[in-house]
């Protein structure tokens, strides 16, 4: 038996019948998933989700730390210990409500968060056994809530009479909107595309984050009182100044996300068959090109073709796994560093390998070669070795002389990152940007150089993760609420 909860370590609670030692002996509950050989034939979700029994079994493992490191390591500060205890008690709706106090998109983060970098990576159990499956549990209660919650019961806060415009409906914008509407502020979210969700819609594929989930989370936010207006490119259709002066908004949050795709600037990038990851994934996810001809947006025919994606992040893995599902014969990841440096979630790399993706590390493309008719025929690459750490702290890849080789390919997708989209910045006088063109914002208050204008997410930090963008949206909402309440800048 453990000592009483004087320390930061595990405690026994009334809810959990197991002693901390017994809890450590329960194995981490496996996430049921579609078998790899089946799922490469469809776009439906890979992970199938916990049953209530599995969820409760997993929840029993939680050590219920007095000072939970998981919450401290969560960018939005989800009260993990409390929601997991509610699962043990069988109060799944209560657990969902507990998460919602800090996270308006639990069904999203439960699926796409890199838990190993945040809550699960800091879990005390992680030192001895596998960490608590916090992401799986979060997903379980979020899905349970979606199936069982009556939207009519969603409570609206008393209105403050203030109006906030949110530019962009991705993770940071949705989070800010959700937090602000709960304070009673009038919130309208502007989206450039025809569907709400930003990168959650156009970027992350159906097999990892079903569109239905986003639509349900958005419906929940509508029930809370958030208004959404699609087909508005702020900066073009309406400017930030006009939102203040003509449409009566009292504050604006800019969460326009990662902007322009970065190309490699190597020969042959204009060949047919060479895509940016943004275009490739937008065609598939937003435009449903994988359902052509039922949907009109076309895609090149991948059946029996060889495909490579260049890059090692989640976007790269989403792209190559999509290509696999479209019938690609050989499917490569070409990454210039080693697997240890790959920024992708561990689970995604695991799933990709199960699906037969050939991960070629220490490999860098130097030229795309044509078939003579304007179409990609192969990619010439060099092998790399790792040198001293660079500015990012990761070891710098260096080319190995004489290591050039060719890979025959029909399609290549470039997933090496993005740069700042200038539309909002260039049409908003007085809005300061940094040398890369991202918006200058205080990283605690998310305030910009313009009074009443706040910014957060990838448009401030450059490409990062859904949860970090949500953290920024959350900080912005808090600081917008303070500004609207006090009027002080």
């Amino acid at each position: 038996m453990a000592a009483p909860p004087k320390t930061a370590g595990p405690q026994k609670t009334s809810a959990n019948p197991l002693s901390p030692r017994e809890r450590m002996k329960v194995p981490r509950q496996h996430m049921p998933e579609q078998p790899a050989e089946l799922r490469v034939l469809n776009f439906t979700e890979v992970n199938l989700g916990y049953s209530p029994e599995l969820a409760r079994q997993e929840a029993l493992r939680c050590l219920q730390c007095a000072k939970p490191t998981c919450t401290n390591h969560c960018p939005v500060g989800v009260k993990v210990r409390e929601f997991v205890e509610l699962i043990v008690l069988g109060d799944f709706l209560g657990a969902a409500a507990k998460i919602r106090e800090d996270n308006v998109l639990p069904a999203v983060t439960g699926r796409v968060c890199p838990q190993e970098d945040h809550c699960e990576g800091s879990c005390l159990m992680h030192k001895k056994v596998e960490s608590l499956g916090i992401g799986y549990l979060e997903r379980f209660v979020a899905d349970y809530e979606q199936q069982h919650l009556d939207m009519g019961s969603v409570r609206k806060a008393p209105p403050t009479g203030k109006k906030v415009a949110i530019v962009g409906s991705g993770p940071s914008g949705l989070t800010a909107a959700g937090d602000l509407v709960q304070k009673g502020h009038g919130v309208r979210v502007f989206e450039a595309l025809h569907e709400v969700g930003g990168v959650l819609i156009y970027g992350i594929p159906e097999f990892r984050l079903p569109k239905k989930i986003i639509r349900e989370q958005v419906a929940y936010m509508r029930a809370m009182g958030v208004e959404f207006e699609t087909d508005v490119v702020v900066g073009r259709t309406v400017t930030i100044d006009e939102l203040f002066e003509e449409e009566g908004f009292d504050a604006v949050f800019i969460g326009t996300g990662a902007g322009l795709p970065v190309f490699m600037n190597i020969p042959g990038e204009h060949l047919n068959g060479v895509y940016s990851a943004n275009e490739f994934l937008t065609r598939i996810n937003l435009m449903h090109a994988y359902e052509f001809p039922r949907y009109d947006e076309p895609m090149v025919d991948f059946r029996n073709q060889d495909v490579a994606v260049i890059g090692g992040g989640n976007t790269a893995l989403d792209a190559i796994r999509s290509a696999r599902r479209l019938g690609a014969r050989k499917a490569y990841i070409l990454y210039r560093r080693s697997e240890a440096e790959m920024p992708a979630r561990i689970e995604e790399v695991k799933h990709a390998k199960q699906e037969g993706i050939d991960v070629q590390v220490l490999t860098n493309p130097i030229e795309f070669l044509s078939d003579g008719k304007g179409w990609l025929n192969s990619v010439r690459c060099m092998r790399m070795k790792l040198g001293e750490p660079d500015a990012s702290g990761r070891r710098r890849p260096l080319p190995i002389a004489g290591s050039e080789f060719e890979i025959p390919l029909s399609v290549a997708v470039i997933a090496i990152g993005t740069s700042a989209n200038p539309i909002v910045q260039s049409t908003t006088p007085g809005l300061k940007t940094n040398k890369w063109g991202y918006i200058d914002a205080d990283l605690n208050t998310q305030r910009t150089s313009r009074k009443g204008v706040f910014a957060g997410g990838d448009i401030v930090t450059g490409s990062a993760t859904v949860i970090l963008a949500m953290g920024a949206g959350r900080r912005a909402a808090k600081s917008i609420d303070e500004y609207l309440t006090t009027g002080e800048w």
């Binding site: 450039a192 025809h194 207006e229 902007g259 600037n265 047919n272 001809p293 009109d296 895609m299 539309i423």
Partner: protein, 296 residues
């Protein structure tokens, strides 16, 4: 949904739509375009704005039936609606006092050249317009172009109306006659714009073309519309659509625009088999999860 206030054919297969889109009408400048989507299963296509009426809150687009989406669009009539219209996108045309400007419109491109021609005229330029089409029936906006031009020339490929020949023949004549030309603006099919560039290059006349690559979002996000300008990638949706013609690699544009020829053919075939069923999907207007749109 964006209501069609009026729709009428102005030539065989070419229809002018007046669409209620107040936000866009208020912000539009010559040279800019919109992207529209007709129904839940539809693709997004870019179309240049012909003119707008900020008071009434309407924009005009001129559409030629080419593929499935434009055929579906041109089947819609006054009082019906378009699911999504977003804009105005792209950089506006550079309007200034250049001196003598030759504005060239090829086919439906004339509708896109028109607002810029009008703005150039208002800015005090001498405007010489050259309008070309395959045949008499396809000559559009002749009256409108005449109103904003000091000189208007018309050509038809088959000689069924006005002068037989191409717009480039007229341009060449102007140059050979020693007409002072300070700027040429050409909007039309890619081969026409490429030919114009080749005529003005030796004469060293600054030439602007409006490019129409494949595009999805129109905000710079996807990079599908990248064009080679002086050997460097630029995005037509945010850096264009207008570019200096002598810097454009037209061959790469032609090659990239051919990328989906096969699926486009398949789409068109499917449409031809049962146009009414396809149109029914558009008219049903189902699956619109976002009732508030940027138009109002």
């Amino acid at each position: 949904m964006f209501k069609i206030a009026n729709a009428e054919f102005i030539a065989p297969g070419i229809k002018r739509f007046v669409i209620e889109a107040p936000r866009i009408a208020r912000k539009h400048k010559p040279g800019q375009f919109v992207i529209l989507r007709l129904y839940e299963q539809g693709e997004r296509i870019p179309l240049t704005i012909e003119r707008c009426d900020p008071e009434r809150g309407t924009i005009n687009i001129v559409v030629q039936s080419v593929g499935k989406t434009t055929h579906l669009l041109n089947a819609l009539t006054t009082g019906e609606s378009i699911l999504d219209v977003v804009g105005p996108l792209g950089k506006p045309s550079e309007i200034g006092m250049f001196g003598t400007v030759v504005v060239m419109g090829g086919g439906v491109g004339t509708a896109m050249a028109y607002p810029t021609a009008a703005a150039l005229k208002r800015a005090g330029n001498r405007v010489i317009s050259i309008v070309g089409a395959r045949n008499k029936e396809l000559v559009i906006l002749e009256t409108e172009m005449g109103e904003v031009s000091d000189v208007l020339m018309v050509t038809t490929d088959d000689g069924s109306y006005a002068d037989k020949g191409f717009v480039t023949d007229k341009l060449r004549q102007l140059i050979e006659n020693g007409t002072r030309i300070d700027l040429v603006l050409a909007v039309g099919p890619i081969p026409m714009m490429k030919a114009v560039a080749e005529v003005t290059r030796p004469a060293n006349i600054r030439t602007i073309v409006s490019l129409n690559p494949i595009m999805i979002d129109g905000t710079g996000m996807c990079g599908g519309c990248r064009v080679l300008i002086d050997g460097k990638s630029e995005f037509a949706c945010v850096d264009g659509p207008e570019f200096e013609a002598h810097r454009v690699n037209f061959d790469v544009l032609i090659q990239r625009n051919s990328m989906y020829r096969e699926p486009e053919r398949k789409s068109m075939e499917g449409f031809r088999q049962d146009p009414e069923a396809q149109l029914e999907l558009v008219r049903a207007g189902e699956g619109d999860p976002c009732p508030i749109k940027g138009g109002r």
